[in-house]
Subunit: 306 residues, 2 copies
């Protein structure tokens, strides 16, 4: 049986991952916001280091009430827009729909689960450098792997099918039985680099080059690992070194929070900083450096409005 | 007996404090750098909330070899220029000269003492908002108290005479028997505000207004107090609240490190951050937030050169 996919939020992530699936012939239905009229005419263009393509025509919608109920919903919004899901999701759900939150940070599955107690929820971690370049135009610069895991325990079969669809579409995909661990692992990169590129108004490359910022990045990684360990998630210190090496080899790239900051858009502070800090604190560990970065980010965010 | 004063570094501090002494009729000899020709003609102008004045003519010099030996030398350089003292001081020393380092930070008296083992050294803490406004032109905006204490134990009489001279010249001055404590108390303000105004490119006023940065400022103050306590210097947590209140009531003002950063000049990171961090670490306390601020500042400083 072919899975019917919905993509909620067709930006840097949704445009790339959904585009790959559609390009490989899967049945994908895209929700667009401001780009709707443009993509109806021109389609969705993806310039990718892994091979460029355009999806045209594509199943584009402006509101979920026009969309069919789908088997798999890929939520690719910024977490700060998750409050919209309460109204957006119901029209596209059937009784076996799985919603995959392809988002950064911690604590987002439980929030959705509170609003939809019976919904099958999963999480996705995108290890990708991609950006929206223009209307209906996505750039993919490096990496691309997606890790998917269930927030509940019953969805393994369908999630493995999703992974198989991704792989068949040219996206490296891995099913994990430990979503919590995957989320913390992602934070090991996201916490230092998102915040530090914003606070010091710089690039990952420059942070890695200057000895003091490089050390601070590494210290922050170790703090996230320490926090994870306190939360019962085993990540070894070597993982930080792996992340350092991987960043050294990365195409210079602005993390999403830096793009938000440059555009003076609200940043994903709560999911990436506040929730992990609170979760670690409950487990008895104080993320001192991360908390300082959070305070600096909140100050910067307040400045946007003034 | 009247004391003969030398002022080394006639800027925001040296210009104000030396200017006050000269204006009250004391025998003061000023070393100027780039402003020498200007002040020979126009004198030294001080615009002050405590009463403006101009010292003209004044004893201005371009190099210390032209100056007389003095009883009291007020060193008002930035600490990063202290390496110059090795050549600057000898021409103006006699056997009873006392050198007062009116500078921020920690560990500067021992450094000078290493170069001049027999020299009588003291420290001065200036609680003042003042800036150099132009050639031979100093602005004094708020506060002005100076606290003076000996690094050795033998200089109390002459330092009390210096304090009396300051008071007679309209400068609130206090002699302390605990210079180490005074230095740490000054750091309680300097560590949070110098670094944070630079890293977040903002003002003390905005940092005090936004709740997250205000909390971080307070957290940093408590960390400095904790470090001082570990170093055997008793400062109570109430001192942080006193500093918060005093800053709330302060005329908005850019700390010296912010002025340096704006001008892309080298910042006093070593005296204000590195030395206290190392001193606390030796005493068994890790200044985690302060160390993070130091790393961020070092990154920013490296960017000046690129």
């Amino acid at each position: 049986m072919e899975l019917k996919y919905a993509v909620i939020g067709t930006g840097a992530l949704g445009g790339y991952y959904g585009g790959r699936l559609a390009n490989a012939g899967h049945d994908v239905h895209f929700l667009f916001h401001s780009d709707f009229d443009f993509v109806k005419e021109h389609g969705l263009k993806v310039d990718s280091v892994a091979g460029s393509f355009t999806v045209n025509p594509l199943n584009a919608y402006h509101k979920t009430s026009d969309m069919p109920a789908c088997d798999v919903i890929l939520v690719c919004l910024k977490t700060k827009n998750n409050h919209k899901l309460k109204d957006m999701l119901p029209p596209i759900l059937h009784k076996n729909t799985v919603v995959i939150l392809i988002q950064n940070g911690l604590g987002i599955e439980p929030e959705l689960s509170e609003q939809f107690p019976d919904l099958a929820i999963a999480g996705g971690l995108a290890f990708i450098c991609s950006s929206k370049l223009g209307k209906g135009h996505i750039g993919h610069f490096d990496f691309g792997k997606i890790t998917i895991g269930s927030y509940h325990t019953e969805n393994q079969d369908i999630l493995e099918k999703v992974c198989a669809d991704f792989i068949q579409s040219g996206v490296p995909a891995v099913f994990t039985t430990d979503l919590k661990k995957s989320r913390w692992q992602k934070l090991v990169w996201n916490i230092p680099f998102n915040g530090m590129t914003v606070v010091l108004n710089t690039t990952t490359e420059k942070l890695m080059k200057q000895p003091d910022s490089r050390q601070l990045i590494y210290d922050l990684m170790l703090e996230v690992i320490e926090a994870a360990n306190h939360c019962g998630v085993e990540i070894s210190a070597e993982f930080a070194e792996e992340m350092m090496r991987s960043t050294d080899n990365m195409t210079p790239y602005a993390p999403s929070m830096k793009l938000d900051s440059d555009a003076k858009r609200s940043m994903e502070i709560r999911a990436i900083y506040t929730n992990p800090i609170k979760t670690a604190l409950k487990a008895g560990y104080e993320m001192k450096k991360t908390a300082m970065l959070e305070q600096q980010l909140r100050f910067i965010q307040c400045e946007f409005k003034s």
